[in-house]
């Protein structure tokens, strides 16, 4: 049990969510406010230390002293159902997800660990396919799996397979990329079409059919990041907008940097199938998960050159400038709508819920 005194009651609205939810609810894993609360008010106070307080996609440490190499470390667990989906599978996702988290501080990913939690009764053929897919993803990304662990749980206690990966990368000197570095006047770039992974999973999970099969965008982004850093090391923030989508990632940056972010809604690339699915289900593409996209925030003077280089990379063909960082409305993301109005793009409380009609 957590001590009440450890909790920071500032900025809380009553009744308190943790007290309100005496048990874990699905929203705690949704990447929205409930997830953020769990980290901020439960885990951070318990594990309190300066490295963790960086709160980046990856932690940066210098175990050899200030002049030693800088390492970026990140861990992620994968619980996706179904295990195989159009465009990928849980194994490929587990490699890409952690590689991307390491890449989002500007580091070059080198090594991965992998932990498998297998459910009794899972077909070994599936595990063979997943292992092969992970190996291929590692080869393509230039990373090596150097240690691992396997546990088996009773039938009914897992969803076939859960995977955890931890990644280690090397961070070049002179880079300082973190969510807290966005400055007024910076521009916001996304590397391509948003919402694709989330809709791919949703459509197969819910049996929704569209004219074309929507394939997950899962991909390792460190190559694209390297190209961008080659144009300028002066990139302020990088994020891969996974759970909670573009909205959660931008809200995190706005809060960490105490700046406002203004999006031009019409500039955000949303592919037709994602747009159609969202319209049908009453979902907002800004909140849908991506697995092969990044958001970059950088000084305006570098924007054109970085964009040009991104568009020359296969993972950045549809990169676009979608917004600007402002001094106004700190901590808040605001979208200028297609017809010229404005709306707040808030962080979701828990999971996005489809509307009734």
């Amino acid at each position: 049990m957590i001590e009440r005194e450890l909790l920071d009651f500032d900025n809380w609205s009553c009744p308190l969510p943790l007290r309100d939810n005496p048990t874990v609810v699905m929203g705690h894993g949704g990447g929205g406010q409930l997830s953020a609360d769990l980290i901020k008010y439960l885990f951070l106070p318990a594990f309190d230390n300066p490295v963790l307080a960086q709160m980046g996609d990856a932690a940066v440490v210098t175990p050899g002293g200030p002049n030693g190499p800088r390492l970026a470390i990140s861990t992620d667990s994968f619980t996706v159902t179904p295990l195989f989906f159009p465009g990928g599978d849980i194994g490929k996702l587990a490699v890409h997800g952690t590689v991307n988290d390491v890449a989002m501080v500007g580091a070059r990913p080198l090594f991965l660990s992998v932990g498998f939690i297998l459910e009794e009764g899972m077909p070994l053929d599936d595990l063979v396919r997943i292992a092969a897919s992970m190996a291929a993803a590692c080869r393509q990304a230039g990373v090596t799996i150097i240690t691992g662990d396997t546990k088996v749980v009773d039938k009914g206690h897992g969803d076939g397979l859960y995977v955890n990966t931890t990644g280690i990368g090397l961070l070049a000197t002179g880079l300082d990329i973190s969510a807290g570095r966005a400055r007024p006047g910076d521009v916001v770039i996304v590397s391509g079409d948003i919402g694709v992974h989330g809709i791919a999973i949703l459509s197969i999970r819910e049996g929704l059919q569209f004219e074309t099969v929507v394939e997950s965008d899962t991909a390792a982004l460190h190559g694209l990041v390297a190209e961008m850093l080659d144009v300028t090391p002066d990139i302020h923030c990088l994020r891969d907008p996974t759970r909670g989508g573009l909205a959660a990632a931008l809200n995190e940056i706005a809060a960490a940097s105490s700046v406002g972010i203004e999006l031009d809604e019409t500039a955000v690339p949303v592919p037709p199938a994602v747009h159609a699915a969202c319209e049908m289900l009453g979902l907002d593409p800004f909140y849908i998960a991506n697995e092969g996209k990044l958001i970059a925030i950088l000084p305006a003077e570098h924007a054109e050159a970085v964009l040009a280089r991104m568009r020359a990379h296969p993972l950045g063909l549809r990169a676009a400038m979608v917004g600007t960082v402002k001094e106004a409305h700190p901590g808040m993301v605001v979208a200028r709508t297609g017809i010229g109005g404005r709306r707040i793009v808030d962080m979701l409380v828990g999971e996005q819920l489809p509307r009734i009609c």
Partner: protein, 368 residues
């Protein structure tokens, strides 16, 4: 996306707004009945583009919001039973009952599933013959045909482990009740386009006549909404009080007759309590006695349920257009989307949530 993008094109929207500006000569209060319209008005920032003479108040057309607390408590009691698979539209999961919500029932072991159609619940019932499958049939006239169809199908296929907890409400009796309230400030209504797509708009003529209010059947995209507003304003400015259709691509006077027949076959009119408003005579549909075995309210004995609302919540006044969400003392403090005291803070279509999520920001201070 076809049939969507052309109705979000800024040029025609601004042309209609210019027409509205040219037409308005004095203050008018309009109510958009449907929560879907409220959501889109705030989401696209349409209210910020209208002339200051026009005030939009947000009506009671959010099914999640007006579902009575007693019924939600009943749903929670049914969902918690071990033999039950409780199926619902996603919105309903976070709606607070007296003590808990469906999310927590799920966290505590209840089998609660989010579906997009009641017909999917039928399939689940067929796959799980040893379980009781209950669909939470909330909604206005829009969702009634599918719910009625699910019951008809279950009857035809002799599926005996399927039932629906029905909480259907109808728009015309609600407009009637609102207009009968002495405090009402609303001078014209934008009727809900999707409701009228099913029911037509023949039911609205007596309302327009009796109360002397313009009623304009209105769609949901920005261009649809501003067109509806323009037609209402034109009527107000010229003293007309008619039922007009601004959503001709979807709605006809008679509506969707086969859908109406399905509803008629399965449901009958009943009195219904609206959360935050109270009982409105003849404002609901419930299952006809011929189909009583599919009525979850009869099938499950949930005992006496006494619901208690939070005294801090002013949802009733908000839903009647007497109070703007931000005028409620609990708005944004005691009541947030994370910790909703009342249903309008839960659903994306709820007026309070729409304001909290999209409108909290003051557009006049943003251009630094």
């Amino acid at each position: 996306m076809k049939y969507v993008d052309e109705y979000r094109d800024p040029a025609p929207v601004h042309a209609v707004i210019a027409q509205i500006r040219a037409t308005v000569t004095r203050q008018w209060v309009l109510m958009e009945v449907c929560g879907g319209q409220t959501h889109n008005i705030i989401r696209h920032g349409i209210d910020q583009l209208l002339p200051p003479e026009l005030e939009l108040v947000h009506g009671p057309g959010c099914p999640v919001c007006v579902t009575p607390l007693e019924l939600i408590d009943q749903a929670l009691a049914i969902a918690g039973r071990p033999e039950v698979i409780f199926c619902s539209f996603g919105d309903m999961l976070r709606v607070p009952g007296s003590d808990t919500n469906l999310f927590r029932v799920k966290a505590e072991g209840g089998d609660v599933r989010v579906l997009y159609s009641p017909l999917d619940a039928l399939e689940i019932a067929q796959q799980n013959p040893d379980r009781e499958v209950v669909f939470f049939g909330v909604g206005f006239e829009t969702t009634a045909p599918a719910n009625a169809m699910a019951i008809l199908q279950a009857h035809r296929l002799n599926i005996t482990n399927f039932s629906v907890l029905v909480s259907h409400v109808r728009v015309p009796p609600a407009i009637n009740a609102l207009l009968s309230t002495p405090a009402i400030r609303v001078q014209a209504f934008l009727a809900a386009g999707h409701v009228c797509a099913v029911m037509g708009y023949w039911e609205y003529h007596p309302l327009a006549e009796r109360f002397g209010v313009p009623i304009v059947v209105t769609g949901f995209e920005p261009l649809d909404i501003v067109r509806g507003i323009l037609m209402a304003v034109q009527q107000l400015e010229t003293g007309r009080t008619q039922v007009e259709n601004a959503y001709v691509r979807t709605v006809t006077e008679a509506g969707n007759t086969p859908a109406q027949q399905v509803i008629e076959q399965v449901f009958q009119e009943c009195d219904r309590k609206w959360r935050g408003i109270g009982e409105i005579p003849g404002s609901g549909w419930c299952v006809r006695p011929d189909f009583a075995s599919f009525d979850a309210a009869l099938r499950f004995d949930t005992g006496q349920i006494t619901a208690h609302e939070s005294p801090l919540c002013h949802a009733g006044e908000v839903l009647q257009g007497l109070l703007k969400p931000y005028q409620c003392p609990a708005f944004g403090t005691d009541c947030t989307p994370r910790t909703p005291l009342g249903a309008p803070m839960v659903s994306a279509e709820g007026a309070c949530a729409a304001y909290h999520n999209y409108g909290r920001f003051d557009p006049t201070t943003s251009d630094k």
